[in-house]
């Protein structure tokens, strides 16, 4: 145990008995809160996981293909959620990292015949990371903090510029993009659409989700919470706020890159929209709809927005975008914390970063 500050020792000498009591009360209260609220999140996560595991068994083949696409987009949504929901960086250009990785792996497959999963997925991740480091370094790493408007317009412009560039560049296939990408492979096995691809991307999503979960619940996650709530305040504590932002932005870019490379191989082609503003906005909607600042909210938001669009476009061929738009507006107006806030309380959403109360009791005794 570290020696407490001398000052502090003096200050507490007088009322140690009261303090011990107070601490027990606090620990008791914390345990009650844990009992009252902590359980919802793991239950929601468990339900979503079980549903995802069972989906290919009950869905028709064409729906499994659709579900695979949704899982990849959920992975993409996680990347935006980390950046916006956790660190408060408004990235309106997340598709830049998603799409550039897609183009990157498509080129690897087309020009170099590289389709090995252990090469293309890391390559895609690195492309996303590199682009995010470049753009993030430019937008976030000034000597003084950059404004939200500057960052959102900067990312938006990046995404728009990439879209225009892809449309005009013959090497990248221009308007048509790069069609007929060879399937991703592992030795002689080729991943084609269907249950195998579905479980592959589900596995990737679960692993990335768990890593993100550890990250946002770590002390680094606490620093992110400070960044999101009051960037100026934490700078006065001595945090290098701009560095924190650039790091989480780069991690977000890497995850978007991973998602983008899976998407390219799953769809079998890449096209300029994939780096553009439409996809960038789409991911914002997924996360706002499901609930930003919770990882599971991003996943649920993606599933529901994509699921509802799919169903609406089948049943209301002409007016479905209007219905979807209204639905999104209603949620954002009346549930600014997203659908997840119906079941998840504020305390549990923000979470607690210190040692668990049970350990605290041991430490106190």
């Amino acid at each position: 145990m570290l020696k407490p500050m001398s000052v502090v020792r003096e200050a507490i000498a007088g009322d140690e008995a009261d303090d011990a009591m107070a601490e027990r009360v606090a620990a008791g209260r914390a345990r009650e809160q844990v009992k009252a609220g902590r359980k919802v999140l793991p239950i929601v996560e468990g339900v979503v996981l079980v549903a995802a595991l069972l989906a290919p068994l009950v869905l028709q083949d064409y729906l499994t293909v659709f579900a695979t696409r949704v899982i990849i987009l959920a992975l993409f949504a996680l990347s935006f959620d980390l950046v916006w929901g956790y660190a408060g960086i408004m990235s309106f250009g997340q598709a830049l990292f998603f799409g550039s990785a897609g183009y990157g792996v498509a080129l690897l497959a087309r020009d170099l015949d590289i389709t090995n999963i252990f090469l293309v997925l890391p390559a895609g991740t690195l492309i996303g990371l590199a682009f995010a480091l470049l753009l993030g370094g430019f937008l976030l790493l000034g000597r003084h903090p950059s404004s939200v408007i500057f960052v959102s317009l900067g990312t938006l412009t990046g995404s728009y510029a990439a879209d225009r560039l892809a449309r005009g560049w013959y090497y990248l296939g221009g308007q048509n993009g790069i069609p007929s990408i060879a399937p991703m492979s592992l030795g002689s096995y080729e991943f084609s659409e269907g249950p195998a691809f579905y479980y592959l991307v589900l596995g990737v999503l679960v692993v990335v989700y768990l890593l993100c979960r550890v990250l946002v619940r770590s002390q680094f996650g606490l620093a992110l919470a400070g960044l999101r709530e009051n960037e100026q305040r934490i700078a006065f504590f001595g945090y290098k706020a701009q560095h924190l932002k650039a790091i989480i932005f780069a991690i977000g870019g890497a995850i978007a890159g991973l998602a983008g490379s899976l998407y390219a191989f799953h769809e079998g082609f890449v096209w300029p929209n994939m780096v553009g503003v439409v996809v960038s906005t789409q991911v914002v909607l997924y996360v706002l709809f499901g609930g930003s600042g919770t990882l599971i909210g991003a996943v649920i938001g993606t599933v529901i927005v994509e699921g509802v669009s799919f169903w609406l476009s089948d049943n209301y061929r002409d007016v479905w975008p209007i219905i979807l738009g209204l639905l999104l507006l209603l949620v954002i107006l009346f549930r600014p914390l997203g659908l997840i806030s119906f079941v998840l309380g504020e305390r549990e959403r923000v979470g607690s970063f210190g040692e668990k109360p049970k350990e605290k009791r041991n430490a106190a005794s």
């Binding site: 570290l2 809160q33 003084h144 002390q219 606490l222 305040r233 305390r347």
Partner: protein, 244 residues
């Protein structure tokens, strides 16, 4: 050699000259009060020292280093800490997490990602909370605290990084008499390791706690000296009577 020396500080906002050659010198383990009528430039001077504003002219030295152009982060890392005038605790986090956030500010990124200092800092968090009489609320959200308690939490956060100099902008604003008295008590022990610059309207509070005072009027230093010197100063009496 003084701990902090601000000299010739001028700050202009558009057509308004908020500070016009103001100066402040604070020694080690000194409690220094900054007083003056409304609009005399006290808060602006604090901001120029803390780095929230950059002075138009002038120089700020801290521990023999020219920090005039330092960012707030660099100043914090040099050992300076600021409690804002408007309480800026992080309302949705628990008290515990607010303090932990302040304590871990200078941990390495690696330690933060792996949560390697969580256990080590636990005792320090609880000690700070006990010191500021907040231990029984440790796991409540900071938003649930009374205004006075939020001020204490904020002072605790400002002290967490063990600064050499603490800048307090109106720490007793909006507090009851009893809360003010307790605030004075809470601040006394820090004198052993930390200097204090305090902006405050409550002159009784200032008199009880400070060693030296600087009086600002219209962006300039009107007088500076020990509490009794300032009390005897006729021009200080005059500006306070004039505006009373």
């Amino acid at each position: 050699m003084p701990l902090l020396e601000a000299a010739g500080i001028k700050k202009v906002f558009g057509k308004l000259t908020a500070l016009d050659g103001a100066a402040l010198t604070v020694g080690e383990n000194e409690f220094h009060g900054l007083i003056g009528p409304n609009g005399s430039g006290k808060s602006t001077l604090m901001k120029c020292i803390a780095g929230a504003e950059l002075p138009t002219q002038g120089k700020v030295s801290f521990v023999n280093t020219d920090i005039t152009a330092f960012t707030p982060t660099e100043r914090a890392r040099a050992g300076m800490s600021l409690k804002f005038q408007i309480t800026s605790v992080l309302p949705s986090l628990t008290l515990y997490d607010n303090i932990l956030l302040a304590l871990q500010a200078q941990c390495s990124l690696f330690d933060l990602v792996l949560s390697r200092t969580r256990r080590r800092l636990h005792d320090q968090v609880m000690t700070m909370l006990r010191q500021f009489r907040l231990a029984d609320r440790a796991f409540d959200a900071a938003a649930a605290l009374s205004h006075g308690q939020q001020q204490w939490l904020e002072i605790a956060m400002a002290l967490a990084g063990k600064p050499k100099l603490l800048l307090l902008d109106e720490p007793t604003g909006g507090m009851s008499l009893e809360e003010r008295r307790v605030t004075g008590e809470l601040l006394q022990p820090i004198k052993q390791h930390c200097s204090l610059v305090i902006v405050e309207h409550d002159l009784d509070f200032i008199r009880d706690i400070c060693d030296r005072l600087t009086v600002l009027d219209q962006g300039k230093v009107l007088a500076s000296g020990t509490v009794s010197e300032i009390q005897a100063n006729t021009s200080v009496q005059e500006i306070y009577l004039r505006r009373a």
